[in-house]
């Protein structure tokens, strides 16, 4: 122990230069996931300690933790609610380091709510470890996990074929599983797939190469995780700078704070602000630690510009020669995360980069069964369902396809009533206006040719929050008919109904035409009040015929003013009830 502080300094100097790998583990307890994670956490700490050669260690303390006595799963035990119910809720994050890298594991349960959990845990991951039991090989769950991983655009997958000790470390068993898996995932475009035979329990090929599998020529799991090249997974091509916060501490400084979403920006670069289209040049890339010459993702910086142009949060700075898509209509893969099923008539908040706007789902093209990958028709998506949808936003978005640029292709939907994050989406691409037209299916086109609207009565009823109906008022006194009609209109409007009045007397429409107009508007979901030209037999009465969707009624009302008022209130009371 001559100079221990020097050694720790060396260690810290080395440590501070390490990079970060975020990884996702998918698989169930049965696959030995907890054991594997526990081993990575535990063995890497031991490794770490071994690194500190000059350090004094209490060997007894370390020695006590003999690995045979360790229940790795206990290292990972979670919330009280989980322990009581024996289930794992949601995503848990674990941290470990080796002398080469720091790791963040998003640990997601494989069973219940798997889609929601895996998507949540995987959104920030560079790499996914999919666990397979060597005895069972590729199963439905493996396929489901792989599909979700490809959907999230995770570029590196490790297929960890676990429990090799239980199949006599057989190469042929391993090769068969690898073949099955590669055939299955071929359409998914996962660029980097590593298959590693291991036994988490025995430690084979986890940290050290296993002597039991000399036929395996690759790296052990930890060695692979330490060296896999993920830096270039970032998009360094297309400069996108969503403005997050505008800083004006004094009159001389106006900074646009943000995180570089993609691409590289250099001092002096010409930039254009979206949506204004105003151009300027980057005057400085300011940080607390001094100015930078260039910045790249995921750095958080503050840009100042040569010219005083107005840019606010939610707007974007880009290079003029390389614009993102700009538009209000796009297609996306949408994962529904909420107990409350999608509502096609509802507007949601959509948050994309730093930009929040209102949006609605135009159509669900199909939904995907994550177990079979089969596509089927659907009107809406429910919890854990995934579908290809078209969306329309109120404000234009500045985006790229998710596969090219995750940060500018991802968005979330927020329910405006519960404020819950109800869905998450990955943009496929913009839809041009001509494609929006072709969006109409044959089914709808056939209906349209028969004069049936593509917007159903149900949808209209939902939007207006009312069922359409017609009140036809007949009577000899035009004055009494109008009194009833306009009082009714007033009161129905007061209670939130959308009402149209047709004064057939003033318009000189005969009964038949008035009737047809009334019915047409009712079909549009309106509450229609028709002042018809018809008489009512005597001067003392009005006759009101009410036609609703499946029923009708007729009442007779005295033309005395107070009787008309009370008749109107009767109608309103009935509706309110």
């Amino acid at each position: 122990m001559t100079t221990p502080t020097l050694n720790i300094k060396e260690f810290l100097d080395q440590d501070e230069k390490k990079d970060l790998l975020r990884l996702l583990t998918a698989g169930s307890v049965d696959d030995g996931k907890s054991t594997l994670i526990g081993r990575l956490l535990f063995d890497s700490k031991k490794l770490y300690e071994d690194q500190l050669v000059a350090l004094e260690r209490d060997s007894k303390r370390v020695g006590n933790a003999g690995e045979n006595n360790i229940d790795y799963a206990l290292l990972l035990d979670g919330l009280k609610a989980e322990r009581e119910q024996g289930i794992t809720i949601d995503v848990a994050y674990r941290y470990f380091s080796t002398n080469k890298r720091k790791f963040i594991i998003a640990d997601t349960p494989g069973h219940e709510q798997y889609t929601r959990n895996m998507i949540t845990g995987g959104s920030t991951a560079n790499l996914a470890i999919i666990l397979v039991d060597a005895r069972t090989g590729v199963i439905t769950q493996t396929k489901r996990h792989s599909y979700l991983i490809s959907l999230l655009g995770i570029k590196h997958v490790v297929l960890a074929v676990n429990k090799m000790d239980l199949v006599d470390y057989s190469q042929s068993v391993f090769d068969k599983i690898v073949d099955d898996y590669k055939t299955f995932v071929a359409p998914f475009n996962i660029p980097d797939i590593q298959c590693i035979p291991l036994s988490a329990l025995k430690g084979d090929n986890v940290v050290e190469l296993s002597e039991n599998m000399d036929w395996y020529t690759g790296m052990p799991l930890l060695g692979f995780l330490e060296t896999v090249h993920v830096a270039s997974d970032q998009n360094f091509e297309n400069f996108r700078y969503p403005v997050q916060y505008v800083s004006r501490p004094n009159l001389d400084f106006r900074g646009f704070c943000g995180k570089i979403a993609s691409g590289i920006v250099q001092k002096g670069d010409e930039v254009v602000a979206l949506p204004s289209g105003k151009k300027s040049r980057v005057k400085s890339i300011y940080t607390y630690d001094g100015e930078l010459v260039k910045a790249f993702p995921p750095q958080s910086v503050t840009l100042t510009l040569e010219d005083e142009i107005d840019v606010s949060r939610g707007e974007m700075l880009v290079h003029p020669s390389d614009l993102p898509r700009i538009g209000r209509n796009f297609e996306a893969m949408l994962v529904w995360m909420d107990e409350k099923t999608m509502d096609a008539g509802q507007q949601y908040y959509l948050k994309h980069t730093t930009n929040t706007t209102r949006a609605h789902i135009d159509s669900v093209r199909y939904k995907v069964d994550v177990n079979t990958l089969r596509q089927s028709a659907a009107d809406v998506l429910a919890l854990n369902e995934i579908g290809r949808v078209t969306l329309a936003t109120n404000k234009p978005l500045f985006f790229d396809p998710y596969k090219d640029n995750k940060n500018c292709g991802a968005f979330i939907l927020i329910d405006p009533i519960t404020n819950n994050t109800c869905a998450v989406g990955m943009i496929i691409d913009k839809i041009n206006s001509k494609d929006i037209a072709s969006n109409i299916t044959d089914d709808v086109r056939k209906k349209m040719s028969e004069g049936i609207s593509a917007v159903s009565m149900e949808e209209k009823a939902k939007r207006l929050d009312q069922e359409g109906c017609v009140f036809s008022i007949a009577g000899n006194s035009a004055e009494a008919k109008r009194e009833y009609a306009y009082m009714l209109e007033r009161r129905l409007t007061d209670i939130g109904r959308t009402v149209a009045v047709i004064d057939a007397v003033a318009l000189q429409l005969d009964s038949d035409i008035c009737d047809r107009i009334g019915r047409t508007l009712r079909m549009q979901g309106l509450v229609v009040i028709c002042i018809t030209c018809d008489g009512a037999g005597n001067d003392d009465n009005l006759v009101v015929i009410t036609q609703e969707r499946n029923k009708g009624s007729m009442i007779s009302i005295s033309t005395e003013r107070n009787k008309i008022s009370s008749a109107v209130e009767d109608v309103v009371n009935k509706i309110v009830q």
């Binding site: 230069k17 919330l79 609610a81 809720i89 848990a92 994050y93 949540t120 916060y245 900074g255 819950n420």
Partner: protein, 302 residues
């Protein structure tokens, strides 16, 4: 492409700055909870970085339980002055006047009244809609599962089974009146990261973190410092000078010291790397009841 690669600390820093700015941009009335501990010190530095050259656009708030180490309070006041921070200090004065303290009422009652209730009252008083905390996910089991933007209902409660999905770096900041979000910019930092960052950035921290001879009493196996005369005499008279330091800081009667010679950050890290006890084991409050941190979080304490 290595010239375009960030070290893990720089990546964590960039992530935290982004989170802090997102709160400043999207909430009406945020506050940064400041515990005077090392994590708070790092968080405060990150906030300064996020808004430089401007001032941080929200206040710091310290919930003073009235039983903090004296050195903590001195450090707090000095720091706020030097850095021109808008510092709010709030306490449960009523309970304090009634004489509530850990020696007389036990850790559970003390923590509930002087920390949890004081915090909730202060959040209500100022109607903060977002509150930053320096908690890390590697600290404790229930924190490992908490979101970075953690929703709290009108009663400041956390519902672990009903957390909002949190994807990419797109944070849902929508709340209704009376509801709020706790935000944890250091979620992905480990204890080692925090020390590394303090070392790299020369961030000042309370001297109690460094080993020094201090008057120590062994109470039920915890090494408690005799910090003032409110410690009952039967304990105070047992006090012996011992070379100790503190891994975490809180109310002095509830914070156990460890025997140590580590008087520099390097030595602290060295000690940390070779110890098998986790950081919070020196906190007396965590052992009150089964899963007590989770319980406290549900009740509104971080």
């Amino acid at each position: 492409m290595s010239e375009y690669k960030l070290s893990h600390l720089k990546e964590l820093e960039a992530e935290a700055i982004y989170i802090i700015r997102e709160v400043a941009a999207e909430f009406q009335n945020p506050v940064m909870l400041y515990s005077i501990g090392k994590d708070s010190s790092v968080m405060v530095r990150l906030a300064e970085k996020a808004f430089a050259p401007g001032k941080v656009p929200f206040p710091l708030m310290h919930i003073d339980s009235k039983w903090k180490f004296r050195e903590m309070i001195e450090f707090r006041d000095q720091y706020a002055r030097d850095h021109d921070w808008n510092l709010i200090v709030e306490s449960n004065e009523e309970a304090f006047k009634a004489g509530v303290g850990p020696f007389t009422h036990g850790s559970k009652v003390h923590t509930d009244l002087m920390k949890t209730q004081a915090l909730l009252a202060a959040l209500d008083k100022y109607k903060f809609d977002a509150a930053f905390g320096g908690a890390r996910r590697d600290e404790e089991k229930s924190r490992a599962k908490e979101r970075i933007f953690s929703f709290r209902d009108r009663f400041h409660q956390w519902d672990p089974k009903n957390q909002r999905p949190e994807l990419w770096d797109i944070y849902n900041t929508k709340v209704n009146k009376g509801e709020s979000i706790r935000v944890f910019p250091l979620s992905n930092w480990t204890e080692l990261d925090v020390w590394q960052y303090i070392r790299l950035e020369n961030i000042p921290i309370v001297p109690l973190y460094f080993a020094k001879e201090r008057p120590i009493v062994n109470i039920d196996g915890n090494l408690i410092m005799a910090d003032d005369d409110r410690m009952p005499e039967k304990y105070r008279e047992q006090a012996k000078m011992m070379k100790v330091r503190f891994r975490t800081l809180g109310c002095y009667p509830l914070t156990g010291a460890i025997e140590s010679d580590a008087d520099t950050i390097e030595k602290i890290v060295e000690e940390m790397m070779t110890t098998t006890k986790s950081e919070r084991t020196t906190r007396v409050i965590d052992f009150d009841q089964e899963a007590s941190m989770e319980q406290k979080k549900r009740e509104g304490y971080f």
